[in-house]
């Protein structure tokens, strides 16, 4: 089987700065791949190299198995959705969507039919004659999507397509994006800094750090087993602890039980400490516990107040071991 996109040792330097370093990546056909990482990790640079807007300094790019490293964007047959949508302001919605077909010299009847189908798919048939500026952000986003898929691209490239939408619409559009991808079966590559977006959409999650591949896999494999503290922090893990007998570990607060004095521990590693901060969350309380020189976040159903002496139960089967020698950044967002 031929892979839609293959990166082979791709490196991109800007002046003296290396944005992407020696990246090997195979994008699986018909699947949703997410390039994930904080700003400056090289994910957008990677996407722009796949699209042909940037040439790699070193390395090779193959599209559908053919050498494409120096191919100009107009000869790659890729569909790109830009962060700003980049809709043509002087054209109607229908003409925006038809642009790629016109460039391919499709017949009038075929163009009309395919534009109609694409607009139908994104639910905008009724706005075909409007101009982009008359549409809401979500609608513009859909037009951009329709314009990209109508040409039946070998790969759909999405550059932070949802980042300009408000939070509620963003969550809704994720599902629509997924529906469109599943319905058309198009290979999709998404760039995002939002781990929830990647977890929900991706079949393959590619986590980048400082231009290098940090971890790669299906979200169900990556999320429970982050390979480094960087990945763990990026995926929203908050507890980074050194537990006697386990070394450096991380664990989600949901699995950490905070026991009030007198509560009987059911078994596991116990740490003693003082409750520093208690946040009520409806079904339970999130408690920050000061244990020696570490802070542990855990949950409890018991009545606990700041200052209480408590014990923290860490179930052994929920502890995730982080490699001892992995470089540890200060925070996930600050990697430069």
């Amino acid at each position: 089987m031929v892979n839609p996109v293959e990166l082979d040792g791709v490196t991109r330097e800007f002046g003296g700065v290396t944005a992407v370093q020696d990246l090997d990546l195979t994008v699986p056909e018909g699947k949703f791949t997410a390039l994930l990482g904080p700003s400056g990790c090289g994910k957008t640079t990677t996407l722009r190299m796949i699209a042909g807007y940037l040439a790699p300094t070193r390395g090779r790019i193959l599209l559908d198995g053919a050498e494409a490293t120096r191919l100009p964007p107009e000869r790659r047959n890729l569909g790109m959705v830009f962060q700003s949508y980049a809709l043509f302001p002087h054209l109607t919605v229908a003409k925006n969507v038809a642009f790629g077909l016109r460039m391919r010299k499709a017949g009038r009847e075929e163009t009309r039919r395919r534009v109609g189908e694409a607009l139908e798919l994104v639910g905008l048939s009724h706005l075909a004659e409007r101009r982009p500026r008359e549409l809401s952000g979500g609608q513009q986003q859909r037009v951009a999507l329709a314009r990209a898929i109508v040409i039946r691209p070998s790969v759909l490239l999405l550059d932070e397509p949802l980042s300009n939408l408000d939070a509620r619409l963003r969550v809704q559009m994720r599902q629509e994006l997924l529906n469109v991808q599943r319905e058309t079966g198009v290979t999709a590559v998404l760039v995002t800094h939002d781990q929830d977006e990647a977890l929900e959409l991706a079949d393959l999650m590619v986590i980048l750090r400082d231009g290098r591949l940090e971890q790669l896999g299906h979200p169900r494999d990556v999320f429970p087993a982050p390979a480094s503290r960087f990945v763990a922090e990026f995926l929203g893990y908050e507890n980074f602890l050194t537990v006697p007998g386990h070394g450096p570990v991380t664990i989600r607060p949901e699995y950490v039980r905070v026991l009030a004095a007198g509560e009987e521990p059911p078994g596991g590693t116990l740490l003693s400490g003082t409750a520093a901060r208690v946040t009520y969350r409806g079904t339970d309380c999130l408690v920050a516990v000061r244990a020696g020189d570490q802070t542990v976040l855990g949950t409890t159903a018991a009545e606990i107040r700041p200052g209480d002496e408590v014990r923290v139960l860490l179930p052994g089967d929920r502890l995730i071991h982080l490699p001892e020698n992995a470089p540890v950044p200060a925070t996930a967002g600050d990697t430069r």
Partner: protein, 261 residues
Amino acid sequence: MRRRPLLTALCALAYLFMLGPILLVVAVAFSGGDTIHFPPEGLSLKWFGKALSQHSFTSALGTSVLVATGATLLALLVGVPLALAVQRGRLPGRRVIEALCLSPIVVPELVVGLALYQQLMVGLRVTALGTLMIGHAVLLIPYAVRVTGASLAMADPMLEEAARGLGAGPVTAFFRVTLPVLAPGILSAGLLSFITSFNNVPLSLLLTGPGTTTLPVEMLHYVEFSFDPVVAAVSTLLLALTVAVAVVTERLIGFNKVFGR
């Protein structure tokens, strides 16, 4: 809104100061009398008729239109690519180039005129008409660059990339996307340039000669000898044209985008 009596009074005075004389000229143009006199004696359109039937004015008008059109086209031909290069290109020293093409605003027009007179008319024997066009074009380039640049700055730089990604080559992307998106800006630049050239006196004064003179210069000569409302009528026509162009420009792109920083 809070009332500020002093500010209001100052504004009213400023308007009166600026608009008063202009309105007087317009009023005189409709006069039925024989001298420039206010209030006008009776109401008539005869001075407009006289202005339009006087050969020196109509011929000067022809020259003005020709010069303004030629100079505008020249300025756009140079200014639009310059604006594109300065804003979108990765030209080294683009700031310097930008400053250079805005510099004709700063250099006194009489100096430019004298230089052109010496080099082009005397030195290279270029006709008065040709020299006028070139001279005006130089004056207009800052407007062309500035107005086109303003509309370019408002456009999404990703548009060309989007077009390329959809299968358009660089040339097709330019003509199908970049140029249509810039069209209102270019049109405004053209209108503004046209009117600037049309109204210019200092440069034209040095470059016009017998047989080739522009309307404002002809008007200047006319009032040296005659003092009838013909000049007021011509002025009113000029004013109407200028206001019309200004309104169109404002509609298309907005003055704040043109002159604001």
